[in-house]
Symmetry: C2
């Protein structure tokens, strides 16, 4: 059952052991919680149930996490790693600087939301402990960085260019909103008829094509 890398205790670089006592409970708990969140929704999760699934007592999780929010943050952290990897993979599948690369980053985002709606909602619905989690903030910016990189390449500008930041944020807003709307009402609305790829390509074109021609710069 080899699964999650136990690179948990990264800081202070001591005791990089995998299984101290019994199996590495931390990773198992995160996996259990991810599953629970996915099947029963972000609310339908309980520390007790997660512990039960991992085969330990209901007090055991507190040896690895301060409280339930920290467990959720663990799930979110792991999910964001996967999300960023998927986005980078999407970009890499197309010529650098192409519109397709930009759209592919967005598609990876939407696909993630579609396949793991519960976790996706969790990632962006987290409100508790936001202040105590600079790593999540960093990972979020890292994800945004993938978009920025693709946009910069497409526009032929540097990543730091404010125009790049602006366009990237626009695109991110689109993709983010589309993802949420998609998983919220999966059964109806025009989004059902929409092909993601066409949609993303259209939007990317609309946003990235109107460069310089005064569409975005002046009022």
């Amino acid at each position: 059952m080899s699964d999650e890398t136990t690179a948990a205790h990264a800081s202070m670089g001591v005791t990089p052991k995998a299984a101290y006592h019994h199996g590495d409970l931390r990773a198992q708990l995160i996996a259990a919680v991810r599953d629970l969140v996915e099947t029963h929704g972000p609310d339908g999760f309980s520390v007790a149930e997660a512990a039960r699934r991992a085969g330990v007592s209901s007090a055991a999780p507190y040896k690895h996490f301060k409280d339930r929010h920290e467990i959720l943050r663990g799930v979110v952290s792991e999910a964001m790693d996967r999300l960023r990897a998927a986005m980078e993979e999407g970009a890499a599948a197309h010529p650098n600087g192409s519109l397709e690369a930009v759209a592919a980053v967005g598609l990876a985002y939407v696909d993630f939301a579609r396949t793991e709606p519960g976790v996706f909602r969790l990632v962006f619905g987290l409100t508790e402990g936001h202040e105590k989690a600079p790593d999540l903030l960093a990972k979020g910016e890292s994800c945004f960085g993938v978009v920025v990189l693709a946009v910069a390449a497409c526009l032929g500008l540097t990543s730091g260019d404010p125009e790049v930041q602006r366009r990237a944020y626009m695109l991110w807003s689109f993709v983010h909103g589309h993802s949420f709307l998609t998983i919220d009402m999966k059964h109806k609305v025009a989004s059902a008829e929409i092909d993601d790829w066409d949609f993303l390509m259209s939007v990317s074109r609309a946003i990235l094509a109107s460069t310089r021609e005064g569409a975005g710069a002046l009022s």
Copy 2:
């Protein structure tokens, strides 16, 4: 049906004895829950606390609502009414068919998210009882209808035109995503420097201007 949101008689110091028995507990509970959701986040709400604030026993709410999800649905329903009203008000403040009217609808949306982030998150994060709430679905489409109307007027087409639906959905995705991103990380990112109005105008222009020459109609 029954939609008596009896919001009246709530001015002076509440006086628990005044509305002891036959007060409009339902509306008071919804107000209390809205407040709790706003201050303590969507999770930090409890039926018991809401009942406490309304000055009734913890069992009283169950005379008006089946379970806690139904209370939340009540809050959401009320919030969606206000959201739609704000959107319509925004559109009405500008010439019909103007780009400004479209942007104003979006601005109302973003403003709502900014002023009531907790409730906003609740509205679009609701997963339980989705099947048992056709009225919420209807209200959601009603909100979307406001966008469609403004877009149709701007493009000079009918509301039923698929191109209108498509553009409206694009705009909605953007506004929705921007709203979420705004309230999620209020302290950092480029969004902080962004003026909502300029941003919305830019996007509306980018989306509604590219009508000609197959930018979006290539499907």
